[in-house]
């Protein structure tokens, strides 16, 4: 007996772009669940985890935010290999403001986010015209340049770095601040990318000539996207400065560039939610593998490869498809 796979849309009966005719609680739940789930998870996780995994959760949030920042840039046609630039600039901004001027974290974190975004935009402004791999190369190099400048000129404490930052009030504050920012950034910028403004940004990636041909200055829009991504990255840096109570050369480390890309690619690029999901899988996995000692990176790498080969579309796209469609095997009549 021959069989074939049948795919049926699970969707809602009457549906036209954004307007849904909701007929039952089931349909309401069907729409609300994917939105409520991340909120519930992010609010409950800090309560359920022990002190060690709470720290891991902080780095999950940071990697997730950096991955979202990477994804926004990638959707605008700029593949960045230097999220460490955003992270590092934000970290040094808040660190310096706290260390030299004694400003409290309540001020330094928001100011460093915006200022960091602005500085990163200005640094990359001259290379906005570069496309593809050329832009990527520049973003890869700039953090390496900055770290050597810090080392050679001994500004901001040089190799020693600046320590003794004001800590955040409590671990709970750290956890819930990071979770709240993650949720706001995830839902806010997902909404932005679905709006007409986001469509213009995606248009630049897809077919920039057609966007220019609409009389739109693509460099102005690219700069805006860069500022948004830079500010998200700078927030991470500023936040971690106050968590570690230290800022130094490691903030420009390659980890901050590579991990977010891995998270976004494994999770599913182009959705922001995929980037977040990727961070929630990869970072704890990397921690769980610590027991293997020297083999940790090997196993981590094998897992990465398995994910990418098995689900090249990304985990989020796969889940999304499964959620909206029922797949089943049916017998072919003959």
């Amino acid at each position: 007996m021959k069989k074939r796979k049948e795919r049926i849309d699970r969707g809602i009966k009457a549906r036209s772009s954004d307007i849904f005719a909701l007929l039952s609680w089931r349909e309401m739940l069907y729409l609300a669940a994917p939105r409520l789930l991340p909120v519930i998870v992010c609010l409950l996780l800090p309560l359920l985890l022990g002190p060690y995994w709470q720290k891991v959760l902080l780095s999950v949030a940071v990697v997730a935010l950096l991955a979202i920042s990477w994804d926004i840039l990638a959707q605008t046609g700029m593949v960045s290999l230097g999220q460490a630039l955003f992270f590092g600039v934000g970290a040094y901004c808040s660190g310096a403001m706290n260390h030299y001027w004694g400003l409290s974290p309540v001020l330094t974190i928001p100011i460093a986010s915006l200022l960091g975004g602005l500085i990163c935009t200005l640094i990359l402004l001259p290379v906005l015209r570069l496309r593809g791999i050329y832009f990527s190369m520049v973003t890869l190099i700039i953090p390496l340049i900055l770290v050597r400048i810090v080392e050679a000129t001994k500004i901001f404490g040089g190799t020693e770095g600046l320590s003794g930052m004001t800590p955040l009030p409590s671990t709970w504050f750290e956890l819930y601040l990071s979770m709240a920012v993650l949720l706001a950034v995830l839902f806010g910028f997902r909404r932005m990318m679905d709006s007409d403004y986001g469509l213009v940004l995606k248009g630049i990636n897809d077919n920039d000539r057609s966007v220019i041909n609409a009389g739109i200055n693509i460099y102005w829009f690219k700069a805006q996207s860069l500022f948004i991504a830079g500010a998200i990255g700078a927030f991470c840096g500023a936040f971690m400065t106050h968590v570690y109570m230290f800022v130094g050369m490691p903030v420009f480390a390659l980890d901050y560039s590579i991990l977010p890309i891995a998270a976004a690619v494994v999770g599913g690029p182009g959705t922001l939610a995929g980037a977040t999901l990727g961070a929630f899988i990869l970072v704890p996995m990397s921690e769980a593998l610590r027991g293997f000692g020297g083999l940790r990176i090997v196993l981590y790498g094998v897992f990465l490869v398995v994910f990418i080969v098995a689900l090249p579309e990304g985990i989020f796209h796969y889940i999304q498809r499964k959620y909206h469609q029922i797949e089943r095997w049916v017998e072919v009549d003959k």
Partner: protein, 251 residues
């Protein structure tokens, strides 16, 4: 006609490395005129369009639009002044519905400028424009994803994108290429309608029969030079044109 020319191209040249793609091309265009540009492959027709809209920087020469020099402006500013072009290779957002493809031109600063500071309902405007170029509203063609549409509709979508900008000068780069006779026949009335509204049009075409039926004037290009300029019948009789291009087809 005694009007000032809407577009004036003066000794426009372009070198790509050692190749002279366009050599000292000059012409004037009167408001409301429909100019056809023809010539064999590689004769510099698309280069001419790219130079006027400045997607490519000219090596030398100048372009004036409504008396204002535009050949030093970036392309997006030229569009804002009122020149809209279509591309030979249509590349819509294949995964989006057709009407969502209209959002980008409707987001243009030119739209805001024309509408007096606000954008209006973009989705509704998109559907209206698409109906104008023949996306049957009753059949909900505009809601289909662009990837599911046949070539004829994609070309019309391209035309609708140009229409959305409400330009004074349309530059249509091989709009008819890859279309069946029936599809061409359905697009011609749309072009006639644009013309009735008093707009100026430049059409680059390989489909001579259809072009000659609607063009006021034809420019023939060969090896980057303008070899003939005039009404279609006169140009067809020109010896240089016959030998360069039409001769082989007519013979």
């Amino acid at each position: 006609m005694t009007d000032a020319p809407i577009l004036s191209v003066s000794e426009l040249s372009k070198n790509f490395g050692g190749v002279r793609a366009l050599n000292q091309v000059s012409f004037d265009l009167q408001p409301g005129e429909l100019l056809g540009v023809i010539g064999p492959n590689g004769s510099g027709k698309t280069t001419l369009v790219n130079l006027i809209t400045r997607f490519v920087k000219p090596t030398s020469g100048e372009v004036f639009f409504k008396g204002k020099k535009i050949s030093h402006l970036p392309p997006y500013k030229i569009v804002r002044l009122g020149i809209a072009r279509t591309f030979q290779m249509v590349k819509p957002f294949y995964q989006l519905p057709a009407y969502k493809n209209m959002i980008i031109p409707l987001y243009s600063p030119r739209m805001r400028q024309l509408a007096g500071g606000h954008y209006g309902d973009r989705d509704a405007m998109a559907l209206d424009l698409l109906e104008e170029v023949g996306f049957e509203r009753d059949a909900h063609v505009a809601y289909k994803t662009a990837g599911a549409l046949p070539q004829g509709y994609l070309k019309r979508l391209e035309l609708a994108k140009a229409l959305a900008l409400q330009p004074d000068l349309f530059i249509l780069d091989e709009l008819f290429s890859g279309l069946s006779l029936a599809e061409v026949a359905s697009i011609v009335p749309i072009i006639e309608k644009i013309r009735m509204a008093g707009k100026t049009i430049i059409m680059i075409e390989h489909r001579l029969k259809e072009l000659f039926r609607i063009a006021d004037r034809v420019i023939v290009m060969n090896y980057g030079e303008k070899i003939a300029d005039g009404p279609a019948e006169a140009v067809m009789e020109d010896e240089a044109v016959k030998s360069a291009y039409l001769g082989t087809e007519a013979g």
